[in-house]
């Protein structure tokens, strides 16, 4: 157990260090996410009330698209110089590798969200920078990333990998998007925890299923 977490943290730390070196992905992903919001503004110029209704949806479109962009890159460092094989030869479980990659991408998504949510709140003058919405977003990001990582590991080994990830990833995360958007909208409309409990339960169920199962089958993705 101790080696599991040690290896997972080492991998996550390594991924963050790699990103800090180039800062290529984070800067382009952030720019892309903000651009999505800008495009939304031109696509739907609406009054404040309508904006409040569609703001959670905008957020999750921005998260999904920028998430795909960054998840597509998640396994590129392991592909270069065949590092994945080096990781596989280490005395750690494949589960730890999956966990480590998830942690790295989770932190990455948190950074994106930490920028996009306040920017959205400012640009559209809606109260999305709100503790309940942040909580919902955090909870939903767990399932979002854990599905994304296994498909990212898979797509990096196919032809046309940039296309493979979104067509697999988007339909599967539909429940996350539905629940996160519906519950955030309910909060913006003045709802309480009671009103969104059901949505949160589904998000938790999704997180549990789509973290455990990929954790179990990740070895079949990376090991021939």
């Amino acid at each position: 157990m101790k080696t599991f977490w040690k290896a997972a943290f080492a991998i996550a730390k390594k991924d963050i260090l790699l990103e800090l070196r180039s800062k290529e992905i984070i800067s382009s992903v952030l720019l892309f996410a903000v651009l999505t919001l800008v495009i939304f503004h031109f696509a739907f110029t609406a009054d404040h009330e309508t904006m409040t209704q569609i703001a959670p949806g905008m957020l999750w479109v921005a998260f999904s698209f920028s998430g795909i962009l960054s998840l597509n890159r998640a396994f590129i460092p392991e592909k270069e110089d065949n590092c994945m094989e080096g990781l596989l030869s280490c005395p750690v479980g494949r589960e730890a590798i999956y966990m480590g990659k998830c942690l790295g991408s989770f932190i990455f998504m948190l950074i994106v969200e930490a920028v996009v949510i306040p920017v959205c709140a400012m640009l559209f003058n809606v109260d999305v920078f709100n503790p309940m919405i942040i909580f919902i977003t955090l909870l939903a990001t767990i399932g979002f990333v854990s599905v994304g990582i296994i498909f990212s590991a898979l797509s990096v080994n196919t032809r046309a990998r940039e296309m493979v990830l979104p067509i697999l990833f988007l339909p599967i995360i539909v429940p996350i998007i539905i629940c996160a958007v519906s519950s955030s909208s309910a909060i913006l409309a003045g709802g309480t925890f009671e009103d969104i409990k059901q949505f949160l339960l589904i998000i938790v169920a999704f997180d549990v299923i789509f973290f455990t199962v990929p954790l179990m089958i990740f070895k079949y993705v990376v090991e021939e």
Partner: protein, 236 residues
């Protein structure tokens, strides 16, 4: 007394492609086994199965008498692997690469071992430089340092000479020999000269089967070349 490496009837299929079939091999402590053979004959597959980065379709791999399948964790820490790539992150420095792998291997005193190895592979002065700036020989030496980091009892090398000149390759072998002369080494190669220098036992594969297996004896480079062409039917 159990063998260091023992393969019992291992087979490997990729879809409908049978690469290895009922393959048996035993390697004893301190041996340095060279595996030669034409391309696509299962050399790399064998090394990968021994390193447990790939799973055999059938059969057993035993390391020091314990079965790989049951104790992959413990056994992997006794094995070092270097392939034609060094498994290095090119945006990280030499030292950062080794530090990362030291964490993966849960090394006790990583700083000391890393410093010692960087000295040995002649990269101490370049330790803060990114691997991307390294020459082929340097990154292959760093890859070797990575493979030796946890002082494995078994070293597996898959065509380590790829992209190296003879001088670079000689340097690689001298590092392997000086780090621990008693280490068991299994390597694949296309280079007759360094094979003759490095191995104590010679195996030639053809279509996933052992067609020649004998101690090296006093075989010379030319002798090996003649033998190889004779056994494999001229193709290399």
């Amino acid at each position: 007394m159990s063998h260091v490496i023992e393969c019992q009837k291992i087979s490997k299929r990729f879809g409908g492609n049978q690469v290895l079939k009922d393959f048996d091999l035993t390697v004893d402590a301190g041996e340095s086994v060279a595996i030669l053979g034409p391309n696509g004959t299962g050399k790399s597959t064998l090394i990968r199965i021994l390193a447990s980065v790939m799973r055999q379709s059938e059969g057993k791999v035993l390391i020091n008498g314990s079965e790989m399948k049951d104790e992959a964790f413990a056994l992997r820490s006794q094995i070092g692997l270097l392939s034609h790539t060094g498994y290095l992150y090119t945006s990280l420095s030499a030292e950062e690469n080794l530090k990362f792998y030291a964490e993966m291997y849960s090394l006790k005193d990583p700083e000391k071992r890393i410093a010692e190895l960087l000295e040995k592979v002649g990269l101490r002065t370049r330790r803060f430089d990114r691997v991307a700036t390294f020459s082929r020989g340097m990154s292959q030496r760093l890859g070797l340092a990575r493979a030796l980091l946890h002082s494995p009892k078994i070293l597996l090398l898959d065509e380590p000479e790829t992209g190296l000149d003879q001088e670079g390759l000689d340097l690689l072998w001298s590092i392997i020999k000086t780090d621990d002369p008693d280490r068991t080494v299994v390597f694949t190669s296309h280079n007759f000269k360094s094979t003759v220098q490095a191995c104590s036992r010679l195996i030639i594969l053809k279509k996933g089967k052992i067609v020649y297996d004998a101690p090296k004896g006093d075989l010379t480079e030319d002798g090996l070349q003649a033998l190889y062409h004779d056994v494999t039917g001229g193709k290399s």
